[in-house]
């Protein structure tokens, strides 16, 4: 199982802070999440900042990054203003 945590506007749209699902890769995970949450589209998820156990998928293998049991995936929108 992979734990997914939503942050920022995505969280407000999904109306939940997170979910636990079975997924073998980021691309697979995003499809599952889009089907699960009506407020969140696949396009929106693919345009989020995504981290696996604190590492940006930009520093891993992007959407092809593999997921293992117990991984935590954090999904953000780019932010500004402080």
């Amino acid at each position: 199982m992979v734990t997914v945590r939503y942050f920022g506007p995505t969280r407000l749209l999904s109306k939940r802070s997170g979910v636990r699902v079975e997924a073998g890769s980021i691309v697979e995970l995003l499809e599952i999440l889009a089907a699960l949450d009506q407020g969140v589209t696949l396009a929106a998820l693919r345009n989020s900042l995504i981290f696996v156990n604190g590492d940006s998928i930009h520093n891993l293998k992007g959407f092809r990054t593999k997921l293992a049991d117990g991984d935590e995936v954090q999904i953000f929108s780019p932010m500004g203003g402080g």
Binding site: F7, G8, N47, I57, F76, P78, M79, G80, G82
Partner: protein, 634 residues
């Protein structure tokens, strides 16, 4: 000094509290073209008027309240005013920008600014109604909290007030207008030192605009653009500035446990998401602002102003407090008492670590929150340990030790961003004219992990990025516009498509653009006007004032302002050594297994001084000053 430019009221009022005299401060159209308004105008007035050796609490110190040409014109995000003075925290220039509506009402009274000097023999408040200026006894207002004082002053005029903290010269006391705060660097304490409790301004005058129809059309388009941008149209309205806590945590830049760490286990409990889900009543914001980033929140049955990001961090993760309710209560309490939540939180965190290390037994502990409301009151009234805490981190480190982990620069406590994973922001903190401020720093952290994902550890191009952002922010502030208007600088596609090839290419390549940015930074004029469609600031200034400015001209005014503040600081004894950060941030890696997780300040500073056209001692060279029209002394 009437003006031929639109947007201005053409008059700056000088008020001497010692003899209660009122006169006009000479401010010409040439000054307006050179310094525009706001903080740059204030810097010029301070540069010209402050005698050397004047201390922050001396009657001769000036409190300069200024507006910009766009203030009160109906331009979006234009409800801003600035307060500059000598800071009791740093001994250097303090500039503090504020929303609220005082600037707007000051212009309705017929003034672009106030220059307040002297010291009243007893508590006083000033009433400005067009040509009528009254000095009123403030005996019944003295001791009142900021909201109580404003309620007693009544009416729909603009007000600035101080609370008990300002009256008692707490070094980080702020100035308050409605629920907005000119919080940083202690202008409230300077007001208190002058026995000035409040200034009220109002009238029925309006600034004339050079090209009213073009200006109104632009304002409408600009508002629509701000509403359509991912940051100013979506994130800030939905989550306010508080929305940054979570992404700061994953980027390891969330100040935690007195800046020992960049992540907080309980970050979600003090996040913007939690604020929105559990406490938000409605958005709130300044007049003429389409963004409305302020919050009204509910806590224990009370409807109060919500905290900004900085407050959530400095009173949350940085003291290891995971109670959002406590932060909401303290935020309100600190506003009522009249002090800056950033410096208050930073000072408390430092005192906690002093206690932990046995250097000062004070009863303050990380994670312990039950005693802090009382401590904040003690600070405001300088009771018990509050008397020491009221002096701030630098004073505490000189008295009790711990300079290596006293998290300030030039005496001003750092704001929420832990810079060891955002070294450009670290450089900015060190070279900022007002000390450890994230905004005067240049706010490069925006690119280093908040909005974009450029390499946060490299020193490449960070000096040039800082300079560009600092100059643009100076100019926007001087125009009277909120700095958040500059977020539109970032093309929406970079925010909406952060995983696209193009976005990733931009992020990768930006740190190789130092030489190009340097050319842009040095460019002061071009044969053809240079503008960017997403930054309509020059066009707004053109339509409002009639000045022929483009983006380069505006940027140059910003550069002039930054250098002018630097000159004031040098006059006050600033040396390169004070462009510093505590050793915790420059020598103690955030990740003990990665020695690179420090701020390499020596290299960054050298790059920055060179790129600014300053010598190795951090002084603007003669050539630089000449290029900015700042030679020739006063």
């Amino acid at each position: 000094m009437a003006t031929e430019f639109g947007g201005y009221m053409g008059k700056v009022l000088k008020i001497n509290l010692s003899d209660r005299s009122v006169s006009e401060y000479p401010w010409t159209d040439r000054d307006r073209e050179m310094y525009l308004g706001g903080k740059i105008m204030a810097a010029k007035i301070l540069f010209d008027s402050l005698a050397s050796g004047v201390r922050p609490f001396a009657p001769e110190n000036l409190l300069v309240v200024t507006t910009g040409p766009l203030t009160g014109t109906g331009a979006p995000m234009s409800s801003r005013f600035n307060i500059s003075t000598l800071s009791p925290q740093t001994g250097l220039i303090a500039s503090s920008n504020c929303g609220g509506d005082f600037g707007l009402h000051l212009k309705r009274a017929g003034y672009d600014g106030l220059v307040i000097t002297g010291k009243s023999p007893g508590p006083v408040w000033i009433e400005i109604w067009e040509d009528e200026i009254k000095f009123n006894d403030a005996g019944d207002l003295w001791g009142k909290t900021t909201q109580a004082a404003q309620a007693m002053l009544g009416g729909k005029n603009g007000k600035i007030v101080i609370g008990p903290a300002g009256e008692n010269l707490v070094k980080y006391a702020g100035v308050f207008s409605n629920e907005r705060t000119a919080g940083r660097a202690g202008a409230g304490a300077v007001m208190g030192s002058k026995n000035l409790k409040a200034v009220v301004a109002g009238g029925s005058r309006r600034p004339l605009l050079a090209d009213e129809s073009a200006a109104r059309k632009l304002f409408k388009e600009w508002s629509a653009m701000l509403r359509a941008h991912p940051i100013t149209g979506e994130q800030l309205p939905r989550l306010g500035t508080a929305g940054l806590v979570s992404i700061m945590n994953v980027r390891k830049i969330l100040a935690t446990r007195n800046f020992r760490h960049g992540q907080f286990n309980d970050f979600e409990m003090v996040s913007g998401e939690m604020l929105a889900e559990k406490h938000l009543i409605k958005n709130r914001g300044c007049t003429t602002c389409p963004v409305q980033c302020g919050r009204r929140v509910e806590v224990r049955g009370k409807n109060v102003k919500g905290p900004e990001l900085e407050t959530l961090v400095l009173l949350g993760s940085n003291i290891e407090n995971n109670s959002l309710e406590r932060i909401l209560e303290w935020n309100w309490l600190l506003d009522e008492l009249g002090m800056d939540t950033i410096s208050a939180g930073g000072t408390i965190a430092f005192a906690m670590e002093l206690n932990e290390k046995g250097l000062w037994k004070n009863g303050l502990e990380f994670g312990r929150t039950d005693n802090l409301a009382g401590i904040f009151e003690d600070i405001a009234y300088r009771r018990g340990i509050g008397a020491d805490l009221a002096e701030g981190s630098r004073y505490l480190s000189e008295k009790y030790g711990g300079k290596d982990f006293a998290i300030h620069s030039k005496g001003l406590e750092l704001s929420a961003y832990e810079p060891r994973r955002a070294v450009g922001q670290g450089l900015g903190y060190a070279v900022s004219n007002r000390g450890g401020c994230h905004l005067n720093a240049g706010y490069v952290v925006l690119l280093e992990g908040l909005s974009m994902s450029i390499n946060p550890q490299t020193t490449r191009a960070k000096a040039e990025m800082n300079i560009l952002f600092q100059n643009l922010m100076e100019a926007a502030s001087a125009a009277g516009i909120c700095l958040f208007s500059l977020y539109d600088f970032i093309f929406p596609f970079l925010l909406r498509r952060p995983n696209s090839l193009l976005s990733r290419l931009v992020n990768k390549s930006m740190t190789y653009l130092g030489p190009s940015l340097h050319v842009i930074n040095r460019l002061k004029r071009s044969p053809l006007p240079v503008n960017l469609p997403q930054l309509p600031h020059p066009e707004a200034v053109r339509h409002v004032t009639g000045m022929k400015v483009d983006l380069l001209a505006l940027k140059t005014i910003g550069e002039r302002g930054f250098n002018l503040e630097r000159l004031i600081n040098i006059q006050r004894g600033l040396t390169a050594d004070q462009d510093s950060l505590p050793k915790r941030l420059t020598e103690e890696p955030q990740d003990p297994n990665d020695p690179g997780t420090v701020v390499p300040l020596g290299k960054l500073k050298k790059d920055y001084y060179q790129a600014r056209g300053w010598d190795s001692g951090g002084r603007p060279t003669e050539k630089t000053l000449r290029g900015l029209g700042l030679t020739g002394g006063k």
